[in-house]
């Protein structure tokens, strides 16, 4: 270690910059959360003060619970996200196994074809997707969203999972074949458990964009019974724009589930990004 790397002044400057940026990153979330628990007067009089006995109020949350169907929105978001992740992982892992395990004609072309979607955003095809969903009667159903997110997540999932599956030892699979296991059993019993960390990475990568998406719920499933939490809060806030208590409470309620997911999965997410899986 040299002197420059240990210089206490440099260390202090480093911490100074990081603390400053952390404050910038967290400040808006903090302001929204504390003000959602305050009375209307306190929101305007002292926006930066923590709620105390005097200014504490849950009036905003009451409006949200009475006016918006947030439990339904939450349920829709949960169904869409979980189902899409399930299909992305299952179909993605199956295709990745076929590409990485077997040599067959068109193998490389297949891998390239599936990789196309990594760079080209699916939104470009929205007009035709809407037409397809209208023709098949899937518009305003959660299936429309699940199918779109599955298609959107597959290219990267196949790419990452096939990289990992190449590392699974051939001896293990051949031992299974000698014992008379079918290719399906080898995939589900031997290979899948071994690539579980990569599956988790893929799941975490896909989870947040699906949960937060506004474009497809707005276009494919805007009906009241199929609104996701993101679309529901957008519409709710649009209607209650002058009711600051309700808006702040709705925002806080939309922040909460993502924050809980993030706290649970943040190590996985950061390890996934920094492990070089997407390089």
């Amino acid at each position: 270690m040299n002197k420059a790397r240990r210089n206490p002044l440099n260390v202090a400057a480093a911490h100074g910059i990081l603390i400053l940026y952390t404050a910038i990153a967290l400040f808006p979330v903090f302001v929204i959360l504390i003000n959602s628990f305050k009375s209307r007067r306190a929101i305007f009089r002292e926006p930066l003060a923590l709620p105390d006995a005097d200014s504490f109020s849950t009036i905003g949350y009451q409006t949200v619970f009475n006016q918006g169907d947030f439990f339904l929105y939450f349920q829709n978001s949960l169904i869409v996200t979980v189902a899409s992740l399930f299909f992305v992982l299952l179909f993605g892992a199956m295709a990745a196994f076929a590409i990485s395990e077997y040599r067959f004609r068109g193998n490389t072309i297949m891998a390239l074809y599936l990789a196309l979607g990594i760079m080209i955003p699916i939104r470009i095809g929205t007009v035709a997707i809407l037409e397809l969903m209208v023709n098949t009667g899937l518009v305003n159903t959660l299936w429309a969203l699940i199918l779109v997110y599955t298609a959107q997540g597959l290219p990267l999932a196949v790419f990452i999972l096939s990289e990992f599956m190449k590392q699974v030892s051939d001896d293990l699979k051949n031992a299974g074949r000698i014992d008379g296991l079918s290719e399906y059993t080898i995939f589900f019993r031997l290979v899948l458990p071994l690539v579980r960390p990569a599956m988790a990475t893929v799941a975490v990568f896909n989870m947040i964009p699906i949960w937060n998406d506004l474009w497809f719920p707005l276009i494919l499933a805007p009906s009241e019974s199929t609104k996701t939490l993101t679309l529901g809060s957008q519409v709710f806030i649009g209607q209650f724009v002058t009711d600051w208590n309700a808006v702040l409470s709705a925002l806080s309620m939309a922040i909460l589930p993502v924050m809980v997911l993030y706290v649970i999965f943040s190590r996985q997410l950061i390890r996934g990004i920094t492990s070089g899986a997407v390089k």
Binding site: P28, A98, Y102, V127, L132, N212, I219, L251, I255, Y262
Partner: protein, 304 residues
């Protein structure tokens, strides 16, 4: 020789992914490009060749909106490249410092905005920058800059830049993480070899680390490019489909949404929408090709 038997299991493994991917992604993509060549006349779909594109680029009303959206989109991208990526690299360089305490804590906290939805981000900043609530003016007052406050999101001249900076605030975590990963993968011996030659501190960053992380910076640039030219949600959440004030924050995503889905009194026009989508497709394709053939192949990669 035996005729090659069909290995059905390969097909079974591939089929579901291929089916969903092809029907929901690839087919609609090409169908959208095809629809751009049609128009609706008397409730029937008629092939009109390149007429839609002639309207888009030739009709002054359409072309003015298109060039406005494209120009705004470029500015949006430029701000990301000039602000988001340098901040990300700076923070990553500091974070990757060996023996920095609380590094995991900073990393987790700085990534928080990236996981929030555009709706939350858009409204939260709208409230904070609102002159009615007064958080921003009050804070600026406290450091003596109160006179400089303006309702930035409501002014034509500043709204787009403000939104771009909000988007930068949200996504700084992505370049931060990717550069951080690249910096951590630089072997210690290389840095020590530099130290023996007297290259330390900032010089080590510019002369040793930066050339080594250039491929990662390239990837971040193309990710930013694709993400920006496909953006919609933040503008829609903060300014609505009209991308106000007076279309000054209109980008290709909002322009396409308004055109094909309709808004207020204007009816939706799927064919013009497809034409705009095709233009977006072409722009993204050009960007990706420039990256793949012009930049990526020229970047020197080092094997450790």
């Amino acid at each position: 020789m035996k005729p090659p038997r069909i290995r059905w299991h390969i097909l079974v493994f591939l089929a579901p992914a291929l089916l969903v991917y092809t029907t929901i992604m690839i087919f609609p993509l090409f169908n959208t490009l095809r629809l751009a060549l049609f128009d609706e006349v008397d409730q029937a779909r008629v092939f009109v060749g390149l007429d839609n594109f002639r309207t888009l680029f030739g009709d002054p009303r359409w072309s003015a909106s298109f060039w406005n959206a494209l120009g705004n989109n470029f500015w949006f991208f430029v701000i990301h490249m000039l602000v988001q990526n340098p901040i990300g690299i700076l923070l990553a360089a500091i974070l990757s410092h060996p023996r920095l305490r609380f590094a995991a804590l900073y990393r987790t906290a700085i990534f928080v905005p990236t996981i929030l939805s555009f709706v939350i981000v858009g409204f939260a900043w709208k409230l904070i920058l609102s002159p009615i609530w007064g958080i921003a003016p009050e804070m600026m007052d406290s450091v003596g800059l109160g006179d400089f406050f303006q309702p930035w999101l409501g002014l034509e001249g500043t709204a787009l830049t403000t939104l771009a900076l909000i988007s930068v605030w949200q996504f700084v975590g992505i370049p931060l993480m990717l550069i951080y990963a690249a910096l951590l993968s630089i072997p210690e011996e290389i840095l020590e070899a530099g130290e023996c030659d007297g290259i330390t501190g900032a010089a080590a960053f510019w002369k040793i680390k930066l050339p080594l992380i250039l491929p990662s910076i390239g990837i971040i640039s193309i990710l930013t490019f694709v993400g920006n030219f496909n953006a919609f949600d933040l503008i829609y959440a903060a300014q609505g489909a009209l991308a106000g004030p007076d279309f000054s924050t209109d980008i290709l995503g909002t322009f396409m949404y308004r055109t094909f889905f309709g808004f207020q009194l204007q009816l939706g026009d799927p064919h013009m929408g497809s034409a705009i989508a095709s233009a977006m497709f072409a722009i993204i394709l050009i960007g990706v090709c420039i990256y793949l053939f012009g930049i990526q192949t020229r970047l020197r990669r080092y094997q450790f």
